[in-house]
């Protein structure tokens, strides 16, 4: 990718990430950490591309690619399950929980 285009994407994504969670209440810190942990599980598709482009006659490449996909899939699936379990427990009360830092 072109150097400066990449830099722009980097910058905009960084600001977006910062902005999106800047007003998160303390009670959601743990689920949110877990949720963002799930989102970087998208590394799975990077692993798929790496394995997909690996030389089928090179066992070492296949092995490492396999590990990449395995770990990426585990990150995504595990991250989803624990986040969903945590968030599923929040019951809405009548007082809105404030206290954003």
């Amino acid at each position: 990718m072109e150097g400066f285009t990449a830099l722009y994407i980097f910058m905009l994504a960084a600001f977006t990430g910062y902005e999106v969670i800047s007003r998160v209440p303390v009670i959601l810190h743990t689920p949110l950490m877990s949720g963002s942990n799930f989102i970087h599980g998208v590394v799975l598709i990077g692993g798929m591309v790496a394995l997909g482009k690996a030389d089928p006659d090179e066992p070492l490449q296949l092995l490492i690619g396999f590990i990449a996909v395995f770990l990426g899939a585990a990150n995504a699936a595990g991250g989803y399950v624990v986040t969903e379990r945590m968030l599923g427990m929040f019951k809405t009360g009548d007082r809105k929980q404030g206290g954003a830092q």
Binding site: V24, L32, H40, L44, V49, I64, A74, Q97
Partner: protein, 459 residues
């Protein structure tokens, strides 16, 4: 590397949904929706990836996905809520490991890249490896597999030179046309060692911040891999998580009043905890009957739950007791320190699991002024977060940390298993105060006993 238009369009949509999902996750009302959206986006991203032209090894790929997702799904469904922090740590480590493995594939293939891409490839490899081994150590510590904090002699010097050496070798192989297998192997061994060495000396109390930091690291590593693989979805998702993770880490570090650089370079260890003045006085015991009477005939009771309560699995009993007291006209609320449990918000999750509605749960800032009007502050399994030396004793390692002012209540009842010090090993001056009484026993049994007495008082 080119993708068909369909795949590119799908990746774009996925990136947008990830951002919206993350946004939704930062409010309690929409949080559940947010993760479900992000989940669908993840499935979509995975499916369209199969449509990238000229992809090989499909069978192996499907096998790896099924195995990895299957194992993680099963373990995520069965893990106890108290063990959630280490579970997040291990899944995060896997993400970092995946990023490192992608770099390894690229290096082994020996395809030459431009200087910028090569640098990002190496950076991503190092950060991913550090996140992987660091998360494994964090997991081992929280799971109780590794009890002690290991500090090497000259820790900071070792860290410095190990980092330097790793980067040196990394850049050498990054710029080489076809790096040798041994160098690549050595590089990854060093990078993995670096992660382990960085996290090993850090004590359990600081672990939440470390996990959050490693989570941000993995995000960055994934983003860098996106640049290498020319995949914008990876870049956007990775960098957003990196930035959000860093912010979250700062918020947590602030809540604990432990600047990030102190956590990493000057961890609270057993030795450091010996600092601080000797605490004078004696702890006084109280019976479950007295505890029940104090609370039942009080107007206002504030419960301060800690990780000890969750480990004992006493949160259901505590909620049962709170409901019983409320039926008798006592005002009951829960006060949660930002780092109660093992991560900010962890205690809220544990209480939510027991059925406590979140309008009864208050943050430190919301409730600290109320302790003065409370008849009883009931401290269950919490320790450092109510230790008044954080306000008074400059030599104490936790000096300056915001604490819950439980000591300001008329009466303080501390439910505690034994006389030992807290998770960080620091003596608690609260236990020796005149208005404080100790109710010894496991949280589960002690609270059950109190419930019995409260019921007897009603009759």
């Amino acid at each position: 590397m080119t993708y068909s238009g369909l795949v590119s369009a799908a990746y774009f949509a996925v990136a947008v949904v990830f951002i919206l999902g993350l946004k939704a996750m930062s409010s309690p009302v929409t949080a559940r929706r947010g993760i479900v959206w992000a989940g669908f986006a993840m499935i979509a991203a995975t499916v369209v990836t199969f449509f990238i032209p000229n992809l090989q090894n499909i069978g192996l790929m499907v096998l790896a996905i099924v195995l990895g997702a299957g194992v993680a799904w099963w373990s995520g469904k069965t893990v106890k809520m108290t063990d959630m922090p280490q579970m997040v740590a291990i899944y995060n480590g896997m993400g970092g490991g995946a990023a490192a493995a992608i770099a390894a594939v690229e290096l082994v293939k020996g395809v030459p890249h431009g200087p910028v891409t090569s640098t990002l490839l190496i950076l991503g490899a190092i950060i991913g490896s550090v996140a992987f081994s660091g998360s494994c150590v964090a997991y081992a510590k929280l799971q109780g597999l590794m009890k002690k904090s290991i500090t090497l002699p000259q820790q900071n010097t070792i860290n410095f030179f190990l980092t330097l050496l790793t980067f040196g070798i990394g850049l050498t192989i990054g710029y080489a046309d076809s790096p040798g297998g041994f160098e690549i192997f050595l590089f990854f061994v060093l990078a993995l060692a670096l992660g382990a060495v960085l996290v090993m000396p850090i004590g359990g109390a600081d672990m939440p911040v470390v996990i959050s930091l490693l989570n941000a690291f993995t995000g960055l590593a994934v983003g860098f891999k996106g640049f290498v693989l020319d995949n914008p979805a990876l870049i956007v998702a990775g960098i957003i998580v990196g930035a959000a993770g860093l912010l979250l880490t700062q918020l947590m570090a602030k809540a604990m009043n432990r600047p990030l650089k102190n956590i990493i370079f000057a961890p609270i260890t057993g030795d450091a905890a010996e600092g601080g003045a000797e605490v004078e006085g004696t702890m006084r015991e109280l019976s479950a009957l007295d505890a029940a009477a104090l609370m039942r005939y009080g107007q206002k009771v504030i419960i301060v739950p800690g990780y000890g309560m969750a480990v004992a699995g006493a949160q259901h009993k505590v909620w049962e007791m709170a409901q019983l007291l409320e039926e008798g006209g006592v005002e009951v609320s829960f006060a949660i320190h930002p780092v109660a449990g093992r991560m900010p918000g962890h205690m809220n999750v544990l209480l939510a699991e027991a059925g406590v509605p979140y309008d009864k749960i208050y943050d430190l800032e919301e409730i600290n002024a109320d302790f003065g009007q409370a008849d009883v502050a009931l401290v269950i399994g919490a320790n450092d977060v109510v230790n008044p030396v954080a306000r008074t004793d400059k030599s104490s390692p936790i000096y300056g940390m915001p604490i819950l002012n439980a000591d300001m209540a008329q009466n303080v009842i501390v439910v505690k298993r034994g006389r030992g010090a807290g998770y960080s090993g620091i003596e608690n001056a609260l236990f020796y105060k005149d208005n404080c009484r100790m109710l010894y026993g496991s949280a589960q049994e002690a609270v059950a006993e109190v419930i019995g007495h409260v019921k007897a008082l009603e009759a």
